[in-house]
Symmetry: C2
Subunit: 254 residues, 2 copies
């Protein structure tokens, strides 16, 4: 869709256990791949604790990126504070969301749990949030649009997160432009420095991402070339690099 600007995103992981090195954060990487494939430029991935630090990050994102996807902090325990922190960040009241309460009541019943105040708390959301049902666990997520930034709030359990992300993606279908173009090649007989001039030239074009990496053994140098563009501008950049690689005596590997 030429002419349309590429949406930008921050991925925010709320999780003291990640910061303490107790848990590996696999959600952020999954979301980076998935958002990229939808045509979103991920500008920042942040992991932060369940406290004011995360509220500050939510606040910083407003008006700066079109999309924030958060994971974690939606459960029934006292340290599950994402909805509260998002409310504070955006200056919105935190209130019981009737549709979310309905979801919690249904899931609690289906799973044979007791409906405790702690579980009902999972239906408290910033005013204006649209809840996302959790069909794997219990805690609902939310979509919240605020001053040009859309927040997608997801749980931290990967199986819940991925499924609910897809539901959010379907609801936000108008936002996606489709995957960026991508070209890749590996050359033998050259080193990265042989491409320096071409790379410098291409670095002026912010709509094209170009990455080179050494791919050889001692005495047998090689370079991998990768071109990605959300604006569909891969071909020209790729051709320029191939030309430079060949001029330096490189031969393309199959």
């Amino acid at each position: 869709m030429p002419g349309q600007t590429v949406p930008r995103a921050w991925i925010v992981t709320l999780g003291n256990e990640v910061l303490l090195g107790e848990v590996e954060n696999t959600n952020a990487g999954w979301l980076a791949r998935r958002l990229t494939s939808l045509g979103v430029r991920v500008r920042r991935m942040v992991t932060s604790p369940d406290d004011e630090e995360s509220a500050e990050i939510f606040r910083d994102a407003v008006g700066r990126v079109e999309l924030v996807v958060s994971t974690g902090g939606l459960g029934p325990t006292y340290d599950d504070r994402t909805m509260y922190l998002l409310s504070r960040a955006l200056g919105l009241p935190l209130e019981r969301n009737p549709a979310a309460e309905e979801m919690v009541r249904r899931r609690v019943a289906e799973r044979g749990f007791q409906l405790t105040p702690a579980r009902l708390k999972m239906a408290d959301m910033p005013r204006g949030a649209e809840p996302l049902e959790n069909r794997v666990g219990t805690a609902p997520g939310a979509i919240l649009r605020h001053e040009g930034t859309t927040f997608v709030v997801l749980p931290g359990v990967p199986a819940e997160m991925t499924r609910m992300f897809e539901e959010a993606a379907a609801r936000l279908a108008g936002m996606w432009r489709g995957p960026p173009c991508r070209r890749e090649a590996t050359f033998q007989g050259i080193v990265e420095a042989d491409l320096a001039d071409a790379l410098m030239e291409l670095s002026r074009d912010e709509s094209v991402y170009v990455k080179t990496q050494p791919r050889g053994q001692p005495g047998r140098p090689g370079v991998r070339i990768l071109v990605i563009s959300f604006e569909g501008r891969c071909d020209e950049a790729f051709a320029r690099l191939l030309q430079a690689a060949r001029a330096a005596g490189g031969s393309a590997l199959e």
Copy 2:
């Protein structure tokens, strides 16, 4: 070391390829574990692109955390801009560091590479940086102290990063307090909600991190309890949780 405050850290990964989902960020998790084991409270992990966004993050960290560990962006190509971005962030001139140049010259010779201007650029560092030799690759890292915040700048290649981190850790030995205390138990016959009152009580003590997680199957509930404290205050919190778990009829698993 009672009375001493716990140093706080941000871990910053510079890498467009992580944001594009091309590469999994394993450095940040490794550093979170390692810094925790040294007694550092990691407050934020950020991945950001090789542009002004990262300079902003460096700037934000000054005076706010005692330590920033960055990885990535130290190579010879045009998008390896970490030293430049850090210079800009701190308002320091970027200049050729003689000790770093010596390291680059030695490593380039040892590895049989040509000494190109692009490779020499790897010796450009913010004024005042102490270079860290790269004994695996070529690009030196750096330690830079600035207004109460120490920056440790490391390459993105994991084998280089981990080795150079240990060298930096040895040089910064006065900063480490040793690992936090840690207590863990799993109980059968209770659910997380049974511990809610005890957890609420303990949540008031910011020096203790307490996490509970469901660990049961349907009909056989269970809860894992984890207590971590950089201030060495695990025992009391752990005892309070064990008491609550037993009062609710839980039995500890071996």
